[in-house]
Subunit: 373 residues, 2 copies
C-alpha cells in the first residue's frame, strides 16, 4: 500500500452515461492519459447495451494505446473500473446483469481486477479525488453520495424525476413547465407569464397547454427547460426565484442527509452539469448547508466521474483491501469470478445506518484506529 | 325545441375511461334506462382500442334493449354521444382518430346524430345536469371545465401528472411518495415518517427508496397512494396536511380559472372519485373558492359522466342548434359525414378567450337575446 506502483502499470477507467460514454487509460497519477469517447447508453429490446458499449470502448482504447506505444508493445492493464448511470434501476428492472460487465472488462482488457459501480460512486471519487466526505451530483437527476471510514457508501435521493431528485434539472424543468401551464390557463397560484413565454420559445406554441405524459423523452425535455427557469430566476421572475429556492433547499437537505452518516468526513464538493454551470444555485445550496453544518469544508471538484473511475481502478491495484464490494452500489472482483454466482442485490447494504453499531460523529480517526469506542 | 319528445325516442350515451366503460339507452328523462358495462380503454400496438370498445358496448346495449322490449321490436336510436378519457392526448399522439368513432356509433346504432367528446365535457353535463357553470373533476387527474352561453367549452389544467393535474390523485400520491423517500434518506425538509410507513404497507419495503421512473403503471400506483396521504392528513401528519392544503389551493385555482371565462354562469359542482370520496378535500377547495368568488352557487353533482353523455345525446335530438362542434373538446355530426374530411384539431377553439370579442361578465341572458351590447 505504501510501495510506489511500478512504471507502466496501467489502469483503465470508464464512465457510461445517458448522453455519452468515455474511457481512459492511465500509467499513473500525473502522467498523460490515453482517452476515447463512445456512444450513450441505450435500452434495446428491454436490455441495456452497457456490455456492448464497454466492449467497444475497451477495443478503441487498446487500439489507441497500441498506437501511442509506437511498437513498444501493448502495456498490461492491471485493473479496470466502470461507473454506470442508472445501474441500480437497470438491475432492478432486469435490463442489466452488472456481473456480466466484470466478464466484459476482464475479456477485453486482460485484467482480473475489475470494479463495476453506479456513477454516483465514480462521481464522488472524481470530485473529492478519493478523499472522504460527501458529494452532491446535480444534472438531469440529483443524488447525494457519501463514504464512511470503512469504505461503505451511502446515497440520498437519486430516486428519479417522478418521486425524487428534488432540485435536479428534471425537477426544476417540471416545476417551471407547470408554472407556464398555470399562466396559460389563467390560474394564479404559482403561475408565471415569463415562463409561459419561455416555454413557447422552447416547445413552440401549444394552444391547450403542454402535456408530456405520453412523451418518451419527457425527462430530457424537462431538464432542457431547467436552464430557462434558472435564467428567469436570475432576471427576477418571482415564481422562478421560488422554484430555484425550493431546489436549493432540497439539494442542501440531500447533501446534509448524505453527510450525516456516522464516519463521513466533514468535507463536501459538487459535480454534475447543472450545478457546475449555475454558480448561484451552488452558492444557495452551500449557504443552506453551512447554516446547519458550519464545520464542513467546502472544496472545488477535483475531477470528473471518469477521473473517479481511474481512482477506483488504481485502488484495486494499490489498496485492494480498501475497496470492499458494497452492493448494490459497487461490485469488486479480484480474480475470483466464482463470486459471480452470488445475486447482485442480496448484500446487506443499508441506505440508512440501521441495525448496526451506532458510530459517534466527528472522530473517524479514533474509530479507524480501533480504540474500542 | 319546446315540443315534448315523442314516446319511444331513445338516445344512447357512452362513457369510456381508464378503469372501465359503460353505456346506457334512455327513452326519455325520468324513465328507466337500459345499461351495460364494458372493458377499460387500452392502447394496443400504438392505437387506442376505443372503436372496438364502443362497438362492443353498442352491440351489448342493443341486445339488452331487444330483450327488454320483449318482442315488441327494437326501438330506433335517435342520437348517441360518447365521452372519452384522454381523447385530446390520444388524438395528438396519433393513437385515435376521433372521427372514426362517429362512424362506429352510426353503424352500430343506426343513427345519424352523433357526438364524440372528451370526458371532461360529459362530466360537466352530468354534474350540472346540463346547466351552465363550471365543474371540477378530481380523480386520478384533475381538470376544471366550464361552458359559456354560446356552448363554448373551456378547460383549465387536465394536463397530466408530469406538468399538471395539481391536486389530483396522481399529484397527491407523487408528493406523498416523495415525502416518504425523504424520510427514508434522513432528509428533513418535507419528509414524513408516517408516509414512509404507509408507503411500506402500500409498496412493500424498499431498501433503497422507491423509484417509479421505469414503471409503466406509475400513475395508477401514485393515485392509489393518494388515499393513504389523505388518511395521514386526517390523522394530523403535518407533511400530509401540507400536501392536502397545496392540493386544495391548486384545485380551487383551477376551478376559479375555468369559472372566470366571460359568459360562464356562477355555478359550480365537483365530480370524480377522489373528491367525491374525500369530503374534507372538497370543503377546503370550496372554502378557497368562495374567498375569491363569494357570488358562486355551489351545487351537488346531479349525475355521472354517463348521465352527461345522455344529456348530450338528447340535445342532439331536441336542441341541435345548441350543440355546436367545439373542437378539440367536442365533435358533433348531424347526418353530414362529409365534415369528416376536416382535420379534427384545426378548429379555432381558444383555451383562453383571446382574439374574440370580450364579453361582459354576469349578464348572459341579455347577450343571448342579442341586445347589441
Amino acid at each position: 500500500m505504501t510501495d510506489p506502483p511500478p512504471e507502466d502499470t496501467w489502469v483503465v477507467g470508464l464512465d457510461l452515461g445517458g448522453t455519452g460514454s468515455r474511457a481512459a487509460a492511465s500509467p499513473g497519477p500525473g502522467r498523460p492519459h490515453i482517452r476515447v469517447e463512445g456512444p450513450p447508453l441505450h435500452v434495446v429490446d428491454g436490455r441495456s447495451d452497457a456490455p456492448d458499449v464497454v466492449r467497444g470502448l475497451c477495443q478503441d482504447l487498446m487500439r489507441e494505446l497500441d498506437a501511442a506505444q509506437a511498437g513498444a508493445g501493448t502495456p498490461r492493464i492491471a485493473a479496470a473500473a466502470v461507473g454506470l448511470r442508472g445501474m441500480m434501476a437497470m438491475d432492478r428492472a432486469g435490463r442489466l446483469d452488472p456481473y456480466a460487465l466484470h466478464d466484459v472488462l476482464a475479456d477485453s482488457l486482460g485484467t482480473e481486477r475489475t470494479a463495476v459501480s453506479t456513477d454516483a460512486v465514480t462521481a464522488h471519487l472524481g470530485a473529492l479525488g478519493g478523499r472522504g466526505g460527501a458529494v452532491l451530483v446535480v444534472g438531469t437527476g440529483a443524488v447525494g453520495v457519501a463514504v464512511d471510514e470503512y469504505a461503505r457508501w451511502y446515497l440520498a435521493d437519486g430516486l428519479g424525476y417522478l418521486v425524487g431528485d428534488q432540485g435536479s434539472g428534471g425537477w426544476i424543468g417540471r416545476e417551471g413547465l407547470a408554472a407556464a401551464n398555470k399562466a396559460r390557463d389563467g390560474r394564479e397560484d404559482g403561475a408565471s407569464q415569463v415562463l409561459l413565454r419561455a416555454s413557447e420559445r422552447h416547445f413552440g406554441r401549444q394552444r391547450h397547454g403542454i402535456t408530456l405524459d405520453s412523451t418518451p423523452d419527457a425527462l430530457s425535455l424537462l431538464a432542457g427547460f431547467a436552464r430557462s427557469v434558472l435564467a428567469a430566476a436570475r432576471a427576477g421572475d418571482p415564481t422562478s426565484v421560488a422554484i430555484r429556492a425550493a431546489a436549493a433547499r432540497g439539494l442542501a437537505d440531500t447533501l446534509r442527509a448524505a453527510l450525516s452518516h456516522p464516519g463521513v468526513e466533514p468535507r463536501v464538493a459538487t459535480t454534475g452539469k447543472l450545478i457546475t454551470k449555475v454558480p448561484e444555485l451552488r452558492a444557495l445550496v452551500m449557504s443552506h448547508l453551512t447554516d446547519v453544518r458550519p464545520d464542513v469544508e467546502i472544496v472545488d471538484a477535483a475531477g470528473e466521474p471518469l477521473d473517479g473511475a481511474l481512482v477506483l481502478a488504481r485502488r484495486l491495484l494499490e489498496t485492494p483491501e480498501g475497496v470492499p464490494s458494497n452492493r448494490p452500489f459497487l461490485s469488486v472482483r479480484m480474480g475470483t469470478p466464482d463470486l459471480a454466482a452470488e445475486p447482485f442485490e442480496t448484500a446487506t447494504v443499508a441506505r440508512a445506518p440501521r441495525r448496526r453499531k451506532k458510530l459517534p460523529d466527528g472522530d473517524p480517526v479514533t474509530l479507524r484506529a480501533g480504540s474500542g469506542r
